[in-house]
Symmetry: C2
Subunit: 194 residues, 2 copies
């Protein structure tokens, strides 16, 4: 069975993470091909950007990259501490390992920034949040990324996107890359996105 | 400042709850009129339908209904224990108090069922999840509700909806009822839903 690792940084946005838990979860129950997902992070308890305090399931030191087919990373707010974890060398090194092994990396909104800082997006296409005077897109460019003004950018194994509005579609794209179009249509039907 | 109470049952779906935390959260940071939100539940730790283990912020026994303008309730899966909490008399009584005081109640997917079981939807219009042979809609009708085959139903102060796909729109409708159209347009823009 295909397996996704959901990597949670301090200050992650609940909405941008839950698209992965729920789309993969509904696929497990109603899909034509079930997919597993497990959460991890650098801390035992993670305070989200907004209201949730979440306990990740898997100890970060116990991750075996070869067990997984994809890494999913939600974005988060700087004021909520997102970059404290997302720019941590352990976080960046995990991203490098997934890319080195050719596995899928799906990043929503500003989660493109740790992916870029890890070096795996150098001279490759990606996008990130565009408002606030394009601050995050400038940072993305400073990491050597070819920044595209598109809602969702797929560069081989790496998916990046502009903001919360793209989150659910990124989760469905990830699911399609892991399974197939028929499975995604089935899951969309049960979630009433048809 | 307007204030929303997010009521979390065991086995709630992460996605259907996070639409409220995030839409209200983005409104607090970027909106023309900030809105507060606080989470509560019958347990100190709540296991979601999928992967999250969440600690609610407010002790259920400390709720003062007069402090709030709206109650938001995400749906969840029966196998994850949703109805153990959602059909608990304490849960139902809180719903009755919000309705008695004419406050808004926003329920996503099967969260319409505890709202109906509480009695506040008797002879009123509402909807819920429609697939699985209409099982949930039959249950809703058995509680004396006039069941509508619509994605989202608004009966005065009570919003109900069909499934996960409607969740983000229910959150925006709630925000508009608490503030105004201009505020919702601003929040949608920042979340890139424009």
């Amino acid at each position: 069975m295909k397996k996704v690792l959901l990597l949670l940084a301090q200050g992650f946005e609940e909405y941008e993470a839950s698209v992965f838990t729920d789309v993969i979860g509904w696929s497990r129950v109603f899909g034509t091909e079930p997919v597993e997902l497990i959460t991890t992070g650098l801390r035992n308890e993670i305070k989200c950007t907004w209201n949730f305090l979440v306990k990740p399931e898997l100890d970060f030191t116990k991750i075996n990259v070869t067990d997984y087919d994809a890494l999913a990373i939600p974005g988060g707010f700087e004021k909520a501490g997102f970059y404290e974890d997302a720019f941590d060398e352990k976080f960046l090194n995990l991203i490098r390992q997934f890319d080195n092994q050719g596995k899928i990396i799906a990043a929503i909104c500003v989660a493109a920034l740790p992916v870029a800082k890890s070096g795996v997006l150098k001279n490759r296409n990606a996008t990130t949040y565009d408002l606030l005077n394009g601050k995050r897109r400038k940072e993305l460019a400073d990491f050597g990324v070819i920044v595209k003004d598109e809602k969702i950018v797929i560069d081989e194994n790496i998916i990046t996107s502009t903001g919360p509005s793209t989150a659910i579609e990124v989760a469905f794209i990830l699911l399609e890359m892991l399974t197939d179009k028929e499975n995604v249509e089935t899951v969309k039907k049960y979630m009433r996105f048809d």
